[in-house]
Symmetry: C2
Subunit: 469 residues, 2 copies
């Protein structure tokens, strides 16, 4: 069975690569003001393509105070009686550093061995363009889309989406829809057809332990005054028992043990834990009683990302440091309330601080809850059907250990669920040098998007109502 | 009872201050090659003074390979039948940084409020010059010294005395003596007449914990792979029990519990622990069952001086660090064998390393044992008598929590005991900005040195033999 829209899309592979290369050539690094021109040129390139293709209502969305990088909005709303989807992607990319580790320039898309290399090809310019070009193929061949679409192309995903909540809040009416379809949220593995049905949340802060008015000499005071590094080590060590269980009272409040069915589903997933650990040159750790994938997807973490204090230069210094620092982040799972988790961890750290030591908290970040798509959500079923149709395999439902703030944010702000439908893969070195996108993902992605949009176009918007507040 | 030598010495106070100021003006910072000229000009100034005053055999001592900063040697050996003392001091000083915290230039000796400020005035140029000028007063007034003296003025004390052992070994014959009298080793307090009868030893190393081939993303791997910072925190925390006892097997081997008499002596020392802790804005820690001063003087320490790993910049980074570092030093007490302590700590750390983590050791330093003067040593008695004579108070025997590598080194290399007879005080901010020497220490020191040299001159060298191997 051929599909004229898909044939059209696949027939333009060279044009697709040229468009993606042009987009990669705009260095849209949101974190660094030096790349402001690259952000703007990336926006213009996208806006021009959307306008030419027939999208309407093109505008830039910002928080009410106008701060931050604008999101690009466009819409096509001519599919009467069909559902309305917010299609999400982001045009900003990670910084290219360290530059000397790139084998080809980060902002020149380069094909090698069946892969396209360049900053942003996998996260998220490639997957976003697959979504856009699949829709444009409909407009070019049929003059219409099977569904109503509101595009939301964010410019701050790589800097923690600070404006996303204000943008959603400020444009609630404009963003009326039945669900969100995200072109972001990488596939787990290249060797298995999967679909992401949830992600962990996150949050974090920095602590500073102080034990005396100043650094003290280890000869004159060693053995009689506290050492801020010893206190910090005790605090970090005291977060877990000897077997790796997090022992912070209240940390696990609200977290359900996985059901037998969940466990059986996860156990059925083909996964070579030993090969992964060998590749990483490490041994597994974690909470007893849970499998590797259960720990990764269904259990929260409490991780120290950085720790420092005292003399860290060459040679030695016989100092008893009076100050020590640690940066913590957590990955949260469904059932955990970010505010309560935050309080539980801080209360535990404060209660564990010995006499003579004080603890200050700074630089709080995140506090997004976890997200899981309702198992019977119509967009999820349509996405699974589309993947099965285009790959031949029924996708396995998996989770992401990482965090997509979008998912929980649109749920709490707009009352919408999100299905992740990206065609990048988690091993494609996004956030690192030599980011790449498998060229095979382009055809797979175009086919799956065309198939999915047709399927959603046949759904009744009323099916979606049950999942909205 | 007047003493013509002492009168002469005290009568030259202005000249003394001028000489000390001239010595401070030579910036003899041994750690920094940029100060090589200052090291050389300090040596020349001292050598010229010693030669003019009548010291003989002036030469520079180095290790056999000629490396490092030379020590200045000179002798006066005309006191037939009297004991022979090695008189020790050091002409190198600590770096002056941070320069902007000095209230007057570090290399311009400046009098303010009864104190002389300048780098090295307290450690050790002032105390060394007190010793030298007391001896020179004898030579100027009486044409002779009461004792035989071999001067050993080191140039590497502030950089860890790397050449001291090779110098002692290479010049064993030249350094034949009955005991060592050190012008280094600060007095404990300004408000109490004390004498140091021992010091702790030291040693140290750096460890690097590695848990995986690379840093890993806390979303993709959080909860399933080890975190080098968690491992390091567990290692550091695992060195002590909850009450502060070091639990490393073998660490305390050979350490005697203090005797009831030791404890009574220490308990009798007037010491306001609460005032000290309030001043430091901290609370006491340490091994249960030992008083503050017992812990400081008689119990070993195991201290982390620096610790670092992961992301330590601004903001956050969701990384599971694969590498973490810590610098450790120990203060050792009599009975502990440095080699065995080193092995005990490393064995314990290695045994505590969990699967998936490796531990590498680097940058070993020190490993000097503790030292205690034999309680009945004739030079100690003479020094106590001299202090009692000049201050009116019988000195209280105290210890130094810090380390003077000299003391154990001359004991093991030359078989000699050392009495510390410095007139600096431990609060004089040596190793910090605004180092100072109390002006009152100059007269006290000159009087005590004159008195001590006379007393030793009346001792029989045979009294010393019992204390030599």
């Amino acid at each position: 069975m051929t599909d004229a829209v898909l044939d059209h899309a696949l027939g333009q592979r060279d044009a697709f690569l040229a468009r993606l290369s042009a987009l990669v050539a705009q260095p849209s690094v949101g974190a660094d003001p030096a790349y402001a021109d690259g952000m703007e040129s990336a926006r213009r390139l996208l806006e021009s393509r959307l306008a030419d293709a027939g999208f309407q209502g093109l505008r830039r969305l910002t928080a009410l105070d106008g701060s931050g990088q604008p999101a690009i909005y466009a819409e096509w709303l001519g599919a009467e009686d069909a559902p309305t989807l917010i299609v999400y992607g982001h045009y900003d990319v990670q910084p290219p550093d360290p530059l000397d580790l790139w084998q080809s320039p980060p902002f020149e898309a380069t094909v090698r061995d069946g892969r396209l290399y360049g900053r942003g090809v996998s996260d998220d310019k490639g997957p976003m363009l697959i979504a856009l070009e699949a829709m444009i193929a409909f407009l070019e061949v049929e003059g219409r889309l099977p569904v109503n679409v509101r595009l939301l192309l964010e410019g701050e995903e790589e800097t923690g989406s600070p404006s996303l909540a204000p943008i959603l809040a400020a444009h609630r009416d404009l963003l009326k829809a039945d669900a969100v379809l995200s072109a972001d949220g990488a596939r787990w593995r290249a060797d298995l057809t999967t679909i992401n049905v949830g992600n962990r949340g996150n949050g974090g802060f920095e602590i500073t332990v102080r034990t005396a008015a100043k650094d003290l000499h280890s000869g004159r005071y060693g053995g009689v005054v506290p050492n801020a590094l010893h206190v910090l080590a005790d605090l970090v060590s005291g977060l877990r028992d000897a077997e790796g269980r997090i022992v912070v009272p209240g940390f696990l409040d609200g977290v359900d043990e996985p059901s037998d069915e969940d466990r059986a589903d996860i156990a059925a997933i083909p996964f070579d834990e030993a090969a992964l650990l060998a590749d990483l040159q490490t041994a597994p750790v974690g909470e007893p009683g849970f499998s590797f994938l259960e720990r990764l997807w269904l259990r929260p973490t409490l991780e120290v990302n950085g720790m420092w204090g005292g003399y860290t230069g060459a040679g030695g210094k016989t100092v008893i440091p009076n100050t020590a620092h640690a940066k913590f982040t957590m990955r949260l799972v469904p059932g955990q309330d970010p505010d309560r988790v935050r309080k539980a961890v801080l209360d535990h750290l404060r209660a564990s601080c010995p006499p003579g030591a004080t603890l200050a908290v700074s630089d709080e970040r995140g506090w997004a809850g976890a997200y899981a798509v309702p198992q019977l959500h119509p967009l999820l079923s349509a996405a699974e059907d589309a993947l099965e149709e285009t790959t031949g395999d029924r996708p396995i439902r998996v989770r992401i250990g990482a965090t997509l703030p979008l998912t929980e944010l649109v749920r709490t702000t707009l009352g919408l669920d999100t299905v992740m439908f990206s065609f990048s893969t988690a091993d494609e070195d996004y956030h690192a040098p030599n980011e790449f996108l498998r060229l095979s993902a382009i055809d797979e992605g175009l086919a799956a998007w065309v198939s999915l949009l047709r399927k959603v176009g046949r759904q009744d918007p009323a099916e979606y109502s049950a999942f909205r507040p």
